[in-house]
């Protein structure tokens, strides 16, 4: 198989983009805007002053979280807004129009199970899939990363749970990889039991997808890493992805990332 491997050109023209953070951005890295700047830059390709909508659903629409979003994005040369599903003042049509008119939809962290349940109740899952197909960039951290994949592993609720996401990315995902909240062993055990292969991202790293293909791994910290993981038959194969640190000079070879799946 390895002999037949061919280098596939990146589908840079695929407008469907997702940037999934293992952890980081304004929610977790006060004073380090590198990951947020990365997604904002992508959004600027769509509009000079991009529209950025925050979905704090996974936190129960916590007020302090919404305030922190506006603090981080209010002065960032964009048009920030947020949608609260606990205090809905928009009708269904408005909600859809609002989300589809965005350039970037930013999903906050928290409980992924509560996030997906609430989204389904409001039909947000279908709207986000439509937004993605139309080229609205989707991003988020933690629960806001897991939600885009077919499957994920979370220990947010104490015990380790397997979750089904929206499935826009046909992979599995583990966030906060290697920390207590990102249980590496449990993820590997699930991969061995038939969970589809996927991506593990440490805090401070983010995976950029076009369509279902990963086109870049970036990081807000020099040592943050991301991995491609899958069941290799007798063991789990964990491949470190060349990760570009956004805060300095690109590492040698950092741009030579090849399609990994």
């Amino acid at each position: 198989m390895e002999d037949e491997a061919e280098i596939v050109p990146f589908p840079q023209d695929d407008e469907r983009q997702i940037v999934a953070f293992g952890g980081g951005g304004f929610s977790m890295e006060a004073g380090n805007p590198l990951l947020d700047d990365y997604v904002l830059e992508l959004a600027r390709a769509r509009r000079g002053r991009p529209r950025v909508c925050f979905l704090p659903t996974a936190s129960g629409d916590a007020d302090h979280y919404v305030v922190r979003f506006y603090r981080a994005f209010g002065a960032a040369g964009c048009e920030p807004s947020h949608v609260s599903l606990f205090r809905r003042d928009r009708g269904a049509a408005d909600l859809r129009d609002h989300l589809l008119s965005q350039d970037l939809i930013y999903v906050g962290g928290g409980s992924v199970i509560s996030l997906l349940g609430t989204w389904r109740a409001h039909g947000i899952d279908a709207i986000l899939a439509e937004a993605w197909r139309r080229g609205v960039i989707l991003c988020g951290l933690s629960a806001g990363s897991l939600c885009w994949y077919s499957q994920g592993v979370t220990s947010f609720h104490g015990e380790v749970l397997r979750v089904r996401g929206l499935g826009l990315l046909p992979w599995s995902n583990c966030v906060h990889y290697g920390s207590k909240q990102g249980p590496r062993e449990s993820y590997h055990a699930m991969l061995r039991r038939g969970m589809c292969p996927g991506y593990a991202a440490e805090d401070g790293s983010a995976l950029h997808f076009r369509g279902s293909r990963m086109v870049a791994a970036v990081a807000s910290r020099p040592d943050a890493r991301a991995w491609c993981v899958g069941d290799g038959g007798d063991r789990v194969i964990e491949t470190a992805l060349p990760t570009r640190f956004l805060g300095g000079e690109p590492r040698p070879g950092g741009d030579e990332l090849q399609a990994v799946a």
């Binding site: 009708g91 269904a92 909600l95 409980s111 509560s114 349940g117 109740a121 220990s155 609720h157």
Partner: protein
């Protein structure tokens, strides 16, 4: 024997007389010396200020307060099943009924609530936390007021904030008149209703102007019948007993044999 259910048309935990009287009423229905009362603030997204206010409200009454935040289950390390089923009362607050029902289903809380009811635990709540016990409520959870299915421990429909939210009231009356949802109970803010065995035992109010109505389809579309609501005693009429005295009082109540002389029990 299934536990009682108290539906409240609207309230909060701020120390205002009309809220305090309702909380006195709920605690008066519990028999334990230091009743365990758990807050389930799902409908409003588990806000910490509400949780703090609930603890203060219940602890002032000698109750042992706790809460279950579905958005922070890992952090709090509470087993929802074991915890909820060990309570004397479960208090559900308002917010979005749409989200409340979706999240309960997602986390299996709807099943636990049914079990809690069957075990005799008192269930209560205001706004979304009042409508959730019925077959149908009228929720603004999706923007405009519209019928939403509850867990159905009580038959029929229920509308909260009845006189305070005219659009909700109109949507409720229209839905009942059209037969889309069953007849039911409408409650103003600070009006409440006690149900035992699925039957309305009494309606109460903590504000003179608060009212309760039975709403049914009628010849002219909708028939609205006022339900007599007893005005609750104003809190603070008697000097507030200290925490220990309150516990002492509860201990006395719970050890006395049931009878007409029993303190504080409204059967």
């Amino acid at each position: 024997m299934p536990g009682p259910i108290v539906a409240i048309g609207g309230a909060e935990f701020q120390m205002r007389p009309e809220n305090e009287a309702l909380h006195d009423y709920i605690v008066s229905l519990l028999d334990a010396p230091a009743p365990r009362v758990c807050l389930v603030p799902t409908a409003s997204g588990d806000p910490r200020d509400q949780i703090g206010a609930f603890h203060a409200t219940m602890e002032r009454r000698g109750a042992v307060a706790s809460s279950i935040s579905l958005f922070r289950l890992g952090e709090d390390a509470i087993d929802p099943a074991a915890h909820l089923l060990a309570q004397d009362a479960i208090y559900v607050t308002g917010g979005s009924m749409v989200n409340l029902m979706a999240l309960w289903r997602e986390h299996g809380i709807d099943v636990l609530m049914r079990q809690a009811h069957e075990r005799g635990i008192l269930l209560c709540g205001y706004s979304a936390g009042s409508m959730c016990w019925f077959e149908t409520g009228i929720s603004r959870g999706a923007g405009a007021p519209a019928p939403v299915a509850g867990i159905g421990l009580l038959a029929g429909s229920h509308c909260v904030h009845y006189s305070q939210d005219p659009a909700r009231r109109d949507a409720y009356r229209t839905a009942v008149a059209a037969g889309g949802i069953g007849p039911g109970l409408a409650l103003d803010d600070h009006a409440a209703a006690l149900f035992r065995d699925g039957r309305l035992v009494e309606a109460v109010r903590s504000r003179k102007t608060a009212a309760a109505f039975h709403v049914d389809a009628g010849p002219d579309g909708v028939a609205e019948t006022a339900v007599a609501a007893r005005l609750l005693p104003a809190p603070g009429a008697a000097p507030e007993p200290g925490l220990e005295e309150m516990r002492e009082l509860r201990r006395m109540r719970s050890t006395r044999p049931p009878g007409p002389g029993r303190l504080g029990r409204r059967d």
